[in-house]
Amino acid sequence: MRTKWFAAVAACLGLLTSCIKEEALNAECDITGVDSAWIARHRSILIGRPIVTNDHVAFNIQKGTDRTQLDPLFTLTPGARLTMRADGGEVTANGVMRDFSSPQVYTAHSEDGLWAKDYTVAFNYPQPISRCSFEHYELDPTGRYHVWYETDTADTDNPRRDYWASGNPGFALTGMGRTAADYPTTSYALGVKGNCVKLTTRDTGFFGQGVGMPIAAGNLFIGEFRTQYAMQFPRQATHFGMQLVGGRPLRLEGYYKYTAGPVFTDKDQNVRPELHDTCDIYAVLYEVDPSNFMSLNGDDVLTSDRIVSMARIDEPGEPADWTFFSEPFRPMNGKTFDEERLRADGYAIAVVMTSSRQGAYFEGAVGSTLYVDEIRIVWEGEE
């Protein structure tokens, strides 16, 4: 009886395990990064780290650098390959010399040959952040949510600058957004001038709850959103700031209006009637090592000892109509602005806005809505 029982269990286990099929070839086709030896060879022309997203790669290079003959070498998903269109066909592209006067398209193909995606690769001369009107936006490549970019009109063949990032790609995973307007960060037609951005704290549904992130605050910031870490280390997914400093910053200016959502909840979705939601708009100037750019993130963007100065609306309140603000950069950590450091690309600036001040800790009120438009950093000598 006993042996029979064991035999039956063994048979069932056998049934389950014996039919494991041969492993499929990789279906992924990512540019995972830029070859470190290539970066080392081009250290003198590069500013900061290349930004690699799921569909584009942006290199910031010193103004005036010749970009007509560059041969970037990328690291790829194992088994994947890169091609480009040339002479009416697809030819191998990784490490091949190309003219980056305008952005170039690379196509990544998966090992199993079933998947492919395009990357736009650009070599940009950085343009200090100045006036941001949020008129330049488009749908992401999957057509679900808005992304914003700035333009450098002086760079006619390559004007696009992907400086803005939001948590929208993370929210996309929850499946809660049916249209772009359902996302936490979205374009809105009725701005102070033209379009503005609308930031809304959203419910993330059962998927968000399943990973302990019940809400998503609308956010938009200068920097990079690393979706890869969004669910494991959400505050490290928001890389705040880029080396886009035009001088000593004096003020952060712009227009906003805000309404807090009715019910404030914490990370565990407990209602906290004693708390009321607040928005946040601030800019941070901080020091960076030009040869090893490390951005601030959600954990230290307000507290790092690298911060030189910060401009922030301390008490934004809930203005129902467009309200102008002009906040001075206040020094921090006893630091002063150093022109020498600026010339060596030793500063970065972040502009951050969010519909829930504690959104990074998943505390806030669903429905809190912040509208922002005509953001400006006033640099010394610009007044």
Partner: protein
């Protein structure tokens, strides 16, 4: 579960008591009973279900079953059996209270998953690479309809369809230590340490399948049996999008029966 345990305990006690009382006057009562049942023989049985709720065949995305636990699944059953015209053939009908469950821990690669939000507002879709823990525990009221064939006095076999009503079910688990690619393998990649799921409310209530097995009559009133129940419809409705392949309950039962 508690209810089933109590019922089974009661059944076992009844069987034990009945087995002790195999005396002469009781046999006469049995004869009277048999006459009243017009050739139908009644039996009560108890056993364990061991098996899996599994896609068949295993899809290529499942790379490894790291852990499998059959869990504790009881089946108690009452049957009526009748031989056809004193031939070796017969028919058996029954009613069975049983649970079918298991827990597994599997490594998957590029496993397509979809889920619709409870309020219908959106849909999660992606390709998951990492680990998946699954825990199934479904309770059924099952009606087997079997043809029997007696090989000799001691051995007989039975086969036929069964129809089940799931009155209580749970299908839960978690995806952990891996990453999801939004929409498909080219989408945004997000690492996940742990995400839980619960598809219990989407489970299908009606199941059917085929059952086949054999039994050995060890004593006049007691036989041991083994059978295999092969589910022929998936545990989720075919339009259920979260698990893209059908999961079939395939379970073996081992037990003993008291023949009245």
């Amino acid at each position: 579960m508690k209810k089933i345990l109590t019922l089974t305990a009661a059944a076992c006690l009844a069987l034990a008591a009945a087995a002790d009382n195999g005396t002469q006057p009781r046999d006469r009562d049995d004869n009277l009973l048999r006459a009243a049942l017009k050739g139908w023989h009644v039996r009560l049985s108890a056993g364990f279900n061991v098996g899996g709720t599994t896609p068949l065949p295993l899809p290529r995305e499942i790379r490894k079953i790291d852990k499998y636990s059959p869990t504790f699944n009881l089946a108690i059953e009452g049957n009526a059996h009748k031989r056809i015209d004193d031939s070796r053939w017969g028919i058996m009908v029954g009613i069975r209270l049983e649970s079918k469950g298991m827990s597994t821990d599997a490594t998957v690669k590029n496993y397509h998953m979809e889920a619709v939000n409870a309020d219908g507002s959106g849909r999660i879709m992606g390709a998951w690479t990492g680990h998946v823990k699954t825990k199934v525990n479904n309770s059924y009221l099952t009606f087997p309809l079997l043809a029997t064939y007696a090989i000799n006095d001691r051995w007989s076999v039975a086969a036929g369809p069964y129809f089940s009503y799931m009155y209580n079910g749970s299908f839960t688990g978690e995806a952990y230590d891996g990453y999801i690619r939004d929409q498909n393998p080219t989408g945004e990649k997000a690492e996940v340490s742990r995400a839980t799921y619960d598809f219990s409310s989407s489970l299908r209530h009606f199941h059917w399948g085929l059952q086949a097995g054999g039994e050995f009559k060890a004593y006049k009133h007691l036989c041991v049996f083994a059978n295999l129940q092969w589910g022929l419809n998936g545990i989720f409705p075919s339009d259920f999008e979260s698990v893209t392949f059908a999961l079939y309950p395939v379970y073996g039962t081992l037990g003993f029966a008291y023949l009245f």
